[in-house]
Subunit: 130 residues, 2 copies
DNA sequence: CTGTGTGCAAACACTTTGCAGGTGT
DNA sequence: ACACCTGCAAAGTGTTTGCACACAG
């Protein structure tokens, strides 16, 4: 039910494809690329459609992109707080939100204006650190 | 002279191509993609060669990559301090290092281990803010 | 002389676009 | 009914790879 409500709240057409993709995001605690989504879909979807869906989700603010060096862009559900860390594990290659960790204590130089931020830490996650 | 010295310090073959690319980095204060470099080269070079050069520079630690959502990977000369901000301007699309600004005051959750970080602020730079 | 760099061509991965037909409202 | 979504095919970027030759050490 959650996915349909969300789409409705954002004034998006409720289609089977979008519900399925959003369900995958709601169940996942790591960032997902188009391929990751395709792999998790029970019924295959066209790649272009997934890209278009991701674009719509991004534009409406349901998800936000996390670009990772050397691989396809991953998307995560947008959560509070706005400014927080992402963590990319070099072992399992997953990207996740460290939503509890907030960044503070920096100030931009004169004349610079912030629109958004993207803080990525690369390392080994707790799951792979055993 | 600076470029040749640098290559020598890093035990890399000193070739015309590498010197030219490194000179471009030394003159630039913004991040450069393969295309940016090609555009600044007086004598055109093969794209594959530029990519290979960037790879070598990255592996030896001369530059480091800054991946930016929706465009080609940009590279910047590696500078101290290690952990600092990058700024991407939505207007001029340049990426630059705010090397003076250091990040502090965050702590990773139990079990996570940091290898490197990549902090990107997206907004309007001081040049475009007039 | 030997190992490494370079250009060329081809291939690959990621993403976007036009169009025709299908679906949600 | 109309607007929007989807699949298909094609094309557009960004990036890597194999090979033969050129060059630095």
């Amino acid at each position: 039910m959650k996915a349909k409500e969300l789409l409705d709240n954002y004034n998006l057409y409720i289609t089977e494809g979008r519900v399925n993709i959003l369900d995958i995001f709601l169940k996942s605690n790591v960032g997902l690329s188009e391929k990751d989504i395709q792999d998790r879909l029970s019924k295959k979807s066209d790649r272009a459609t997934i890209y278009r869906t991701l674009k719509v989700f991004k534009e409406t603010g349901i998800v936000h992109p996390v670009s990772a060096e050397g691989s396809a862009t991953k998307y995560v559900l947008k959560k509070e707080p706005q400014e927080h860390l992402h963590f990319k594990c070099t072992k399992c290659r997953n990207i996740s939100c460290l939503a509890d960790i907030q960044i503070s204590g920096y100030e931009l130089p004169q004349g610079y204006k912030k629109i958004e931020s993207n803080f990525l830490i690369i390392g080994i996650c707790n799951e792979c650190n055993n």
